[in-house]
């Protein structure tokens, strides 16, 4: 039994909007824990366009995705939010009443929270491994086909086919080669994006005959009852061949899927969460949705809209977290109270 983490608010999604929510909540003395499926903060900014310039953040004529995330992390530092990365929220269960909401939030890593409000800042949903479009692949998933390695031991003494040319593919090739019966790496071309020293190590192993490298793409799977016997492959010259294996690990990067948001009992409209434009609250009192994941008349999927939504949602969250306290509107420029919280007074 893991212990339950008690906090004011759980923010689902550590993209720019989730991060800024920490700031707006923090100014109101509200403590937050953030959960994100990625191993790093920043959401799409960090995963999709870390080096790409953004031109429409107020006050920044130009800032890169990573630059914005770095600045947000600095901005929210005084509020000591706790991050739970590489975890996906699987369950959001209401425990309280509409007037005094309370929720239990559980992740796929088993982390359990109890909180007074939930802020969904999940952007385009969760980043999940891209599945190659191979007919019937679902039948083999979790038995023979794995998109991530959770336990290396489960792959001991198996004949493993690893597909891809990036760091994940190469790292797992090198990590699994010593314990597997045989490792075959397959990539669509004889050039690799992965770190050069990994590629070099891989090529050495191939030279010594301790693993195989094949150039081509997987087009089909052969086997029964989820047990793979071989991958049917196509070479770039049009040749067709088979690779005998009982496990396959495809590494084709990440894609955004709505994921379990659909299972939290919220009203959804075309995979977005409808909210009001006063508090950005969902159909469930105490659950808020801000940033790209929400929808309302006139919605624009801009980072700056998400920032505004975070500020307004925080006002209502305050009512749930401190029902007895009256909320005074204050400016960071002039309020010594706010400046103390920011550590500058």
């Amino acid at each position: 039994m893991t212990e339950t983490i008690e906090t004011d608010v759980v923010i689902i999604g550590a993209g720019p909007v989730g991060l800024f929510a920490v700031f707006e909540l923090g100014l109101l003395d509200i403590k937050a824990h953030l959960i994100d499926i990625l191993p790093k903060v920043g959401g799409q900014c960090a995963e999709l366009y870390p080096e790409k310039p953004i031109y429409d953040i107020p006050g920044f004529p130009i800032v890169t995705g990573m630059g914005l995330v770095d600045n947000l992390m600095k901005q929210i530092e005084p509020f000591g939010a706790t991050f739970h990365l590489s975890q996906m929220v699987t369950e959001v269960t209401p425990l309280g009443t509409p007037v005094a909401p309370r929720f239990r939030v559980v992740t796929d890593a088993g982390t359990t929270f109890e909180c007074k409000s939930v802020v969904v800042a999940a952007g385009g949903g969760s980043f999940q491994p891209k599945k190659p479009p191979i007919a019937g692949i679902e039948e083999f998933e979790e038995k023979s086909v794995f998109y991530a390695v959770r336990k290396m031991e489960a792959l001991r003494d198996r004949s493993i086919l690893i597909v891809g040319g990036g760091d994940s593919a190469l790292d797992w090739t090198l990590n699994l080669q010593p314990i597997a019966r045989r490792v075959t790496l397959m990539h669509r071309r004889d050039e690799f994006r992965a770190a050069p020293h990994s590629v070099e190590r891989m090529r050495k192993l191939v030279e010594k005959g301790e693993m195989d490298l094949r150039i081509g793409q997987v087009s089909g799977l052969r086997g029964a009852d989820g047990r793979m016997e071989a991958a049917l492959c196509k070479g770039n010259d049009g040749s067709v061949f088979e690779i005998a294996c009982d496990a396959m690990l495809p590494f084709f990067g990440l894609t955004m899927k709505l994921g379990p948001v659909a299972e939290w009992g919220l009203n959804l409209h075309e995979n977005l969460i409808p909210v009001d434009t006063e508090k950005f609250e969902t159909s469930t009192p105490g659950i808020f949705a801000i940033g790209d994941i929400n929808t309302y008349p006139g919605k624009l999927k801009l980072i700056l809209s998400g920032f505004h939504e975070a500020a307004l949602a925080a006002q209502k969250v305050h009512r749930y977290v401190y029902p007895e306290k009256k909320l005074l509107f204050q400016y960071t420029t002039s309020s010594t109270n706010l400046q103390k919280k920011l550590g500058v007074a």
Binding site: Q44, L48, R188, F252
Partner: protein, 106 residues
């Protein structure tokens, strides 16, 4: 006006007008052409705007740059005529261009 034709995997073709200087991906998105997701919005960071350039247009369109070639590793069923449509800029010479969209974008 420059015209671009998108043919989906079932053979349905849609011809739309393209603005010079826009990308082929943007042309598809602006005209509501299905089959192009462009999850990253044109940053050459997601491989969900994958297209196959029709053979006779390959030399006019050109070959992918190294960064695009790397990103194509994330696309599925990559062929010699595969390109990411966010990296193809519309120019007058491409009037009449035909590209095919894959059955799935990742």
């Amino acid at each position: 006006m420059t015209k671009i034709t998108f043919v989906d995997f079932q053979g349905t073709s849609r011809t739309v007008e393209a603005e010079i200087g826009a990308t082929v991906m943007e042309t598809a998105v602006r005209n509501g052409v299905p089959g192009i997701e462009a999850e990253c919005g044109g940053a050459c960071a997601c491989a969900t705007c994958h297209v196959y350039v029709e053979e006779q247009w390959r030399s006019a369109v050109g070959e992918p740059a190294a960064m695009e070639e790397d990103m194509l590793d994330f696309a599925s069923d990559v062929r010699p005529n595969s390109r990411l449509s966010c990296q193809i800029k519309v120019k007058p010479e491409l009037d009449g261009l035909v590209v095919h969209t894959p059955e799935r974008q990742g």
